[in-house]
């Protein structure tokens, strides 16, 4: 058990920044550039780890606690999901609520750390994050409801594992779930079209503006946390999409990691083709995601499970 957990966490720690690297490469390819090396996110984090910290005189211990709590919460959420041939080390009845709760915990601390600096820009980012994540959470739970109804289980790793039969019966529903979950993924990870981490105007940012004052190890923890969050939520999406489970471990392994790479490339493509939405359109997008999931639920309602 202990070994499994360590293996899981280790894989997540080692591989998650790679996803960001693939996204960056894809975007560079679409822009016709060669782009930064694939391992750039690792270099970034490594650079930050070699730097000292600057603390604002306004801040308190909350400011220093937030990166640790958020990274730990996001990291621990990874042990609830299976990855390829690896089973989830922890799976129990009702773990989806814990899964959502861990993300809420991480978010809460990042938000109050932003408020701790007393900067108006960071307050603005915190306020937006709080508003949008509320909406994203509803959509997430609606997706969970559908998955739970399809599997009659409340266990995350079994809700997302299913056999080919359910794709045949409920393919359209699952696609709706995937579509709405994808929008949640974009919102939670502050990707284009919800938020653009690359802009240079603090007024328009959400996630990046909240961590303006963090530096050195704190910032490294936060960036790592963001990478892991993308990785874990992405792994969940890939798991939903994989239609068959119970094949030999090696096949599952290849399918899963192939899926992750495709997801990263897909994210890169989405980010290359779209522009950031105006902020007041974001709730609209999430409402759209909500309606998508709602249609899925309605279909289940009519067809019966």
């Amino acid at each position: 058990m202990g070994f499994q957990i360590l293996l899981h966490i280790g894989i997540v720690i080692i591989l998650s920044p790679l996803l960001l690297g693939i996204i960056g490469k894809t975007k560079a390819f679409f822009a016709g550039r060669w782009g930064a090396p694939l391992l750039q996110p690792y270099y970034d984090i490594g650079k930050l780890l070699r730097k000292g910290n600057v603390y604002s005189t306004t801040t308190t211990w909350i400011f220093q606690a937030a990166p640790i709590v958020s990274l730990a919460a996001v990291l621990v959420s990874s042990i609830l999901i299976p990855m390829g041939g690896l089973k989830a080390p922890f799976s129990f009845w009702g773990d989806i609520i814990l899964f959502a709760g861990l993300y809420a915990l991480a978010r809460f601390f990042i938000i109050i750390a932003a408020l701790d600096t007393g900067s108006s820009f960071e307050g603005m980012g915190a306020s937006r994050e709080a508003a949008f994540s509320c909406l994203a959470e509803i959509v997430l739970f609606l997706d969970f409801i559908i998955l739970a109804l399809l599997s009659k289980k409340l266990i995350l790793s079994e809700m997302i594992m299913r056999n080919i039969l359910s794709w045949e019966l409920f393919g359209p529903v699952l696609l709706l779930v995937v579509a709405s979950y994808f929008l949640v993924l974009l919102t939670e990870n502050a990707r284009i079209p919800i938020d653009d981490p690359a802009t240079h105007l603090e007024l328009t940012m959400i996630h990046e503006v909240m961590v303006l004052d963090h530096s050195g190890w704190d910032l490294a923890y936060i960036l790592y946390g963001a990478a892991i969050k993308l990785f874990v939520l992405g792994a969940l999406l890939v798991n939903i999409l994989i239609p068959f489970h119970g094949l030999p471990a090696i096949v599952q392994f290849m399918v899963f990691w192939g899926g992750m790479i495709i997801l990263a490339i897909g994210l890169g493509i989405v980010e290359s083709c779209m522009a950031r939405l105006r902020l007041n359109r974001v709730p609209q997008l999430l409402t759209g995601a909500f309606v998508l999931a709602l249609v899925g639920l309605l279909i289940i309602l009519v067809k019966g499970v």
Partner: protein, 659 residues
Amino acid sequence: MMDFFLYSLTILSVSGVLIILTTRFRKMSESIFLISLILGCGLGFISAVTILASRTPIDYRLNFRMPIGEFYIGVDPLSAFFLLVITILFFLAGLYGYSYLKDHGKKNLSVHYALYHLALISLMLVVTAQNAVLFLMAWEMVTVTSYFLIVFYDEREVTRKAGYLFLIAAHTGTFCLWVMFLLMARHTGAMNFDQMMLTPFPLPLAGLLFVLGVIGFGVKTGFIPLHIWLPHAHPAAPSHVSAVLSAVMIKMGVYGLMRIIFIIKDFPEWCAVTLLLIGMISGVGGVLYALGQHEIKKLLAYHSIENIGIITLGLGTGLWGQIYHNESVILVGYAGALLHVFNHAVFKGLLFLSAGSVIRSTHTGEIDHLGGLLKHLPWTGCLFLIGSLSICGLPLFNGFVSEWLVFRGLFEGMFQFKMNALIFNSLGIISLALIGGLAAACFAKAFGAIFLGNSRSVDFTHVKENSPIMCVSMFVLGGICLWIGFFPTQMVSFALGAASTISSAQISTTIEEAIIFPLLKVVLVLIILMTIAVVLILFKRIAMKFLPIENAPTWGCGYSLPTRRMQYTASSFAEPILRIFRNVLGFNVEGNKPKGYFPDEAKISSHVLEASEDILFRPIFKFIEFLSVKFKIIQYGYTQLYLLYIFIFLLVLLVWKMI
């Protein structure tokens, strides 16, 4: 164990009288208050815990006949669970209040203390009364004593108004309860609860009783739209009274509903639907209103409504399980509701007490005037943070455990039942998720604006932490939050015991294990979380030894002269969310924007419209006032005339009988 409970009642009532008698000797009356509080609450606590642990009810009848019923009290696990809440909260809040009121000077504190005891006794009687008349009398006593506790600052007009509003609202509710109990008594021919249970109720009657009960108990509990008194009364009272009001007094409605469910048992399906809908509306509505508040205690008061919503969701789930005879759903639903009653009492008590500490130190409760208090009030700040994390239902804290149970009940209800259950339970799950997200936003706002950043108005550097006694009460409450967050087994099994009482379902060990086992896994995951956090801290500590650390002002994004007035305020923090939900809420922003190159004056203010107060109740009250004015015609002020009225009324009654 019944003896302990009776001793507790006796000690409290005797000492109440003693406190009044020793009014002149302030020290003496204070020490009597403290000693009797410790003894009374301690004995009550012990009797509650033993009954919860053994899960066997005990009762006690006094041969002394009351006018209509008998003095019949009994403690079953359901009563014991509420007794636990009452004793813990009253003890800690009393301790805090003793210190809080210390330098209030001229007020006659003995009366306040005596009333505090009286409120405690009447609450204990409410949850243990096994006779309808006794129950109603205790209920009435709770109302009256709470009224006097609320109007402690009676020199302020706001307080007096809040008190009147509370009194009117509470009596409207009690009227419904009288009707309900009379109907029950007429149908069963008995006033004792145990005899009432023997007669089955036909479904239509059960439905009618349910409606009366929901209105009657709902007024006290604060279901939207019956909640109008709540946000006025909580801020008006002194903080320790607000704590017990919010933590204990409003839960009596929940207890009442559970008792009704316990007596009647068979309900039509729409009752469960109604409860779920009330839960959703109160939950989401409460938290949205809370987001729009600018005053800390008012914000907390609206959060009480939100949590009542969550409790009602659990209650509705349990009732649904009862209608469809599903043991697991019944137990999970009711246990979730009960545990949330306990948890809410603990963290809301904690929040009110720490808010009181802030108000006592800074003399203001306006969130937008505060800021940066974590540096000056470190303990209060940390405890407020613990309370906030718990109320948001975040893992590691107690709120998560009870919300987990309610979530689970809703999900399982969805698996088992039919179309309606599917629709309403999924709505319930979505609103619970929404409540969680909004509550997190609201408490990030409250904690961030009060304790973080810099002060937004005056300088608070002179502010000092309050007396240790106040801190101790808060520490104990914060400790309970963490204790349940990490060791949920004990309280969950207590709650399950009480839940099995409500439904009279035999609780089998397999079901109990199936409920508790995943919670232990949750705890394991949380322990891993803590381990990871410790490792991360260690890494950083070691690295920081070799790396430079600097201090500098917050970066102003290029603006060279940032002042503390430029910080984001609580109102602006909540604005985007309120804007998204503006159509549900009636959210108004007024003010004039800066114009031109050299704008002279600009201001902005936002407020949230209280729909049920402004749209529903004000017109009704206006109409009643109009009617009353019309009826004034028969008032002349002659005593003879009034006697004549009585005579006429008697005649009419006699004639009525003859026909």
